[in-house]
Amino acid sequence: MQIRKTETLPVRNAADVVGVRQAVRKWAVELGFSLVEQTKVVTAASELGRNMIDYGGGGTMRLESLDDGIRRGLRLHFEDKGPGIPDLNAALRDGFTTGSGMGLGLGGAKRLSNEFDIKTAPGEGTHITITRWKGVS
């Protein structure tokens, strides 16, 4: 697996979430993603970016352009140093929220991605990784 390009953006406020969407869109277009693929990965990034601000005290998003020899893809890392997620199963359930949102962010972002990985522990922050491959539904 080759990482062809990488970039890190700060995610601290509502305006940064717009920046996240624009950057992810730009990279997805560069990778030749279809319009639906672009929209799915941009929407997932928007959910995870907002979550990080609402629950993780802000953090960063790292973009990686991937090439595994057969496929090209986009991997996004969302990292915060917030309180972590105490009950991961509950947090992934649709409709579960400890805030004012709809509780669709985590589960929704997972459904919109080809690969989803989350590492979290109380007091140690949260690191969510999503990957979307070109041409994989």
Partner: protein
């Protein structure tokens, strides 16, 4: 922060969202719309989202809440022009926008609002409202 303009046409309010809104801009639009509905005694609200290439759960919730608030204030809301890729993504995200009426484009949306108004009053709504 940018502000989305709201146009008044007869008893309807028209909004066309042309920018990638941040969350505060979206909340301001929701507040502005509810205020304008009361101020102009609007019976219909048409929100054109054909320029939006992303509708995430926050924007989706804003649209659903606006429609619910408008209903309580005696106005109907139609969301028009959603891009197919946005519709596909919204459903996969888990947001069905129940309670939000939709139409393919502005023209059909206006037709729908007129039909709703006619059904409620038993006659056609006047095109222009001269009194305010």
């Amino acid at each position: 922060m940018e502000r989305i303009p709201i146009l008044k046409m007869g008893r309807c309010l028209l909004v066309s969202i042309q920018i990638d809104m941040d969350d505060r801009t979206a909340m301001t639009l929701q507040d502005d719309l509810t205020e304008q509905i009361v101020k102009h005694r609007a019976k219909g609200v048409l929100i054109d989202i054909s320029s939006l290439d992303v509708v995430d759960s926050f924007i989706g919730r804003m649209l659903a809440n606006t429609a619910a608030m408008a209903r309580i204030l005696d106005a109907d809301t139609v969301v028009v022009g959603m891009q197919p890729s946005v519709a596909i993504t919204l459903v996969e995200l888990g947001l069905s926008l129940k309670g939000v009426r939709s139409a393919l484009n502005v023209e059909r949306g206006m037709e729908l609002l007129r039909t709703i108004a006619r059904d409620l009053t038993g006659e056609a709504e006047p095109d222009a409202d001269q009194e305010d």
